[in-house]
Symmetry: C2
Subunit: 385 residues, 2 copies
């Protein structure tokens, strides 16, 4: 690995080689986590245009900020997967690789002659990670899927939003990101197991499966009662008060999950008698009477501005907080104290949340590669032309 | 490990012992993933009441379905962490454990005399995984946080919902679940690294850090332009059409991310001329003119019911889908073809999305334990009274 990209941080995966055939979001997000944690990730891109995400806005100085966020710290080589000479380079890499990641539609890798059995023969230690919309099996397996399609099918949109209002998309590509993170977790698990078995394996992570595990409360309710869970606005389905509340200006979040926190909250807002009311005496009663409780709390909270209440309620030891816009979240002292905003190629971007003692967590990380930026060097290294 | 719980499935973590001091959601979700993948997880609970989640609804036959979902396949022992005899049992377990997981407020473990340096001295191979609201460092470190507080601070609520409408909570505990999954990924990474270093380490995962990595598009936009991203309803910020659309009855999701898919969509709905309009000629132009495009598409789509369009649009190869309620997601043939609904102790619950070739992925999994259900056996095994 002597010739790989300079400036890589060390991490638990230092020394690993990952061949990354994936594009756009779920696969590249998975491999970015590996790059952040020390692995060498060689991104294999289609000649001329490369990863579709290179054309996604927003742009800064002519570069796709989207692509830069998701592909920092990787190397790039352009290979035509149907060209014999290019395939020789790919196969040479695969023979030495620890992990291959792909997120094509199921069936595509097989059509390209890159199915798992063939690659496993070439390299029995290879961990072959597939991330797809619906997975490699089941009646919908071969269907195309994008994030919002999966959000719709999984039920998460049906439980997001306000009662009486429309179903609501989670305002980020949560199905892509969740499946990318599960893909990372699955590959790390298989790498650990390979240390004892000596053998690689095949991983099959689906966006729909991943998203289903995030609909927990909705599935719990349906499983327990047979009833179809609806939209609750910002209220927690099981715990009260655990919601957003109006104040004199901006709304705030208050979570007073147990009787003690609830009593402290009532004291802090000058309404201690609320904690003594029978209809608010337990979490079950507060949840049953959530509308009346919200009205009573807001009657007090709307008398003063949000900052007053955030200070007062936090001082009473009750979890609360503002509803930040993205700029406030990004500039928050807590975010920056933990290197959660870093710089890469002059672009400020989200950092690495996997903090492991003994490894670097730098505030500056290597750039995303230009298309085929490492092509010549990689071809030389792996014995191609 | 001969005496551990029967019926455990085999997986990449078979043979591992995890001491789980965590409660409610993010920590227990992390360790459930390990239990699903073969690890032995011993849940240490407070005597008498146990994990708070045991009191959370919904209930089925007197058991908390919430607790059952998140704690299946674990063992339980009740230990008073301040009692000397109980601490002996705990320390005996920790000496033999591979992993410890805790999600107390930062500072609590140290106050209990269970800080990392002390436990590392006891067992230098121990991986000590902490998951907390704000992390072990930074100005907010010691503050209490629950899911909605983190959703508010991270900015994700500010980008979820409709233009002109209020900020909207993601209708599931996404900050807990995401940090639990990052915690799992971090521990699996550290276990892999331990195979070469021989040493344990400390992991510090925060709900806020985890959530920030899921606000990707919002952070991209702010980073590139300095502008504060707002709420877009169900529309994708960068790709058009990629949204929900009204039909003759229920709304549907359609994602036609590139020019070819867009042309196919226009053909499928009988409006091929839309693909030729200059204002819809590229993704950038479609995104700039998203409102006009939505109006044009809905003018066609509202003439027939959703099922007609889902069939027609899918046949044209364009990604689309229904907006399912939770019951439809749970009963979906794709969900069940992949064992994503399983049975544990008679309760139907979400399955394991980490599908790794060569390991079981059973449709029935061991139950969650009663409080202290394994206490006598574990005390005997680890040499306590």
């Amino acid at each position: 690995m002597a010739t790989d990209k300079p400036g890589r941080t060390t991490g638990p995966f230092s020394g690993l080689l990952i061949v990354d055939l994936s594009h756009v979001l779920c696969g590249p997000f998975c491999t970015r986590l590996f790059a952040d944690l020390g692995a060498r990730v060689v991104k294999v891109e289609r000649p001329k245009s490369g990863d579709d995400a290179r054309a996604f806005g927003p742009f800064l100085n002519g570069r796709s900020v989207y692509f830069s966020f998701i592909n920092r710290g990787k190397e790039s080589i352009a290979l035509d997967l149907r060209d014999d000479d290019d395939r020789k380079v790919l196969f040479a890499m695969i023979r030495r690789a620890d992990v291959l990641v792909e997120n094509f539609r199921p069936g595509t890798m097989e059509r390209l002659g890159l199915g798992y059995p063939k690659l496993a023969e070439m390299n029995p230690r290879l961990i072959y990670g597939s991330i797809s919309g619906f997975g490699q099996t089941g009646p919908l397996s071969k269907e195309r899927a994008y994030d919002t399609v999966i959000q719709g099918i999984s039920g998460i949109m049906s439980v997001t939003g306000y009662p009486g209002g429309p179903p609501t998309r989670v305002g980020t590509s949560v199905a892509d990101l969740t499946s990318g993170l599960y893909g990372f977790a699955a590959i790390a698990s298989a790498l650990y197991a390979r240390e004892s078995t000596g053998k690689g394996t095949k991983i099959d992570v689906a966006m729909l499966d991943s998203m289903m595990t995030f609909v927990e409360h909705g599935v719990m309710e349906y499983s327990a009662t047979g009833e179809i869970p609806g939209r609750l606005g910002n209220r927690h389905p099981l715990i009260t008060p655990f919601d957003t509340f109006r104040t004199g200006d901006e709304p705030i979040v208050v979570c007073a999950g147990d009787d003690e926190l609830f009593a402290r909250l009532c004291g802090a807002i000058g309404r201690p008698e609320l904690a003594d009311e029978r209809r608010f005496a337990s979490n079950a009663e507060r949840t049953a009477n959530h509308a009346a409780l919200k009205q009573a709390l807001e009657a007090a909270l709307t008398t003063k501005p949000s900052q007053h209440w955030l200070d007062t309620i936090a001082r009473a030891g009750v979890p609360c907080g503002p509803i930040n816009t993205v700029d406030k979240a990004v500039e928050h002292p807590q975010t920056n104290a933990r290197n959660m905003m870093i710089v890469s190629d002059g672009i400020r971007m989200t950092g690495n949340p996997v903090k492991i003692d003994g490894y670097d967590d730098p505030a500056e990380r290597p750039a995303a590669p230009g298309l085929d930026a490492d092509g010549i060097r990689i071809r030389r290294e792996f014995g191609g032309r």
